[in-house]
């Protein structure tokens, strides 16, 4: 039996998000995944994937892992996110994005994992420069 390498698995998830490879992203989510970041809240993997698809091709998202601590079943990560609008996105959560506009943020995120999938993802915005 191959041991589950939680860190490698997590790095693969971040890589899939950065490549906007949603076919690779989907298997990371448990069906009853609950995700919230303060601006949006989703109660299922279907809803989260719908959210990702909504911005695909309209917003380029680049995530960087600034810090990582884990124990089996839980990851705490410090993540920098840069969003770049590829066109006008008037319906973006929080505030509209104009074509070419970039928005950067840092979040502390706690990921809960069961059976090799995320079951809960909670993000808190970090308000000072890292």
């Amino acid at each position: 039996m191959v041991a589950f390498d939680q860190r490698q698995w997590f790095d693969d998830y971040i890589d899939a998000l950065n490549r906007d490879d949603l076919a690779r992203v989907a298997p990371f989510y448990a069906p009853d995944l609950h995700m919230t970041d303060g601006a949006v809240e989703h109660g299922s993997a279907v809803a989260v994937m719908g959210f990702h698809r909504q911005w695909q091709g309209r917003v380029r998202r680049t995530l960087a892992l600034l810090g990582y601590v884990d124990r089996p079943g839980r990851i705490a990560a410090e993540i920098s996110t840069v969003l770049e609008a590829l066109c006008d996105v008037p319906d973006f959560p929080d505030a509209p994005l104009a074509a070419g506009e970039r928005r950067a943020m840092v979040s502390f995120v706690i990921f809960d994992i069961a059976d090799g999938r995320f079951t809960r993802i909670r993000a808190a915005p970090y308000k000072a420069p890292p």
Binding site: V69, F108, V109, A124, P125, Y126
Partner: protein
């Protein structure tokens, strides 16, 4: 011979003792966890630099609220500890200029936060908190 770090082998136990000292207002013990150049960023982005500024800030908080921090979870590597905390603030007087918004005597506020503690050998060198959720219990709210 080098003394073993207070965070080894059980960082969680050491962290629990730190939070207990904080809850008791035992700043001498709490400050013993801090490196000389400690830098603490609270949830609203304000930065507290050094032990004296941290003690001054939290002494002020304790003057107007009773604050209890509960460790919901924590885990660590050799250099970093992550914690999910719930802080309850009970206003012991009216606090119109409370950092998260005005509080009236008897009102409570709960902050669920995610915090990251950088560990430099035996001390915290940097502490940063991000607010995940704030819950207010105002007068007249259901119990």
């Amino acid at each position: 011979m080098t003394q073993p770090s207070r965070f080894a082998p059980d960082a969680t136990a050491a962290f629990t003792r730190y939070i207990a000292a904080f809850n008791d207002g035992d700043f001498a013990t709490a400050c013993s966890y801090y490196a000389d150049n400690i830098r603490l960023t609270i949830g609203n982005g304000r930065v507290l630099q050094g032990r004296a500024e941290i003690v001054r800030f939290y002494t002020g908080i304790r003057r107007v609220t009773r604050r209890t921090i509960t460790v919901l979870d924590c885990f660590a590597s050799e250099t970093r500890l992550a914690a999910e905390l719930e802080s309850e603030f009970l206003a012991v007087t009216d606090v119109p200029d409370f950092t998260s918004g005005p509080l009236r005597q008897g009102e409570r506020m709960y902050i669920n936060s995610f915090a990251v503690y950088d560990i430099d050998r035996d001390h915290f060198s940097r502490i940063r908190a991000a607010v995940f959720r704030r819950v207010w219990k105002r007068r007249g709210d259901p119990a």
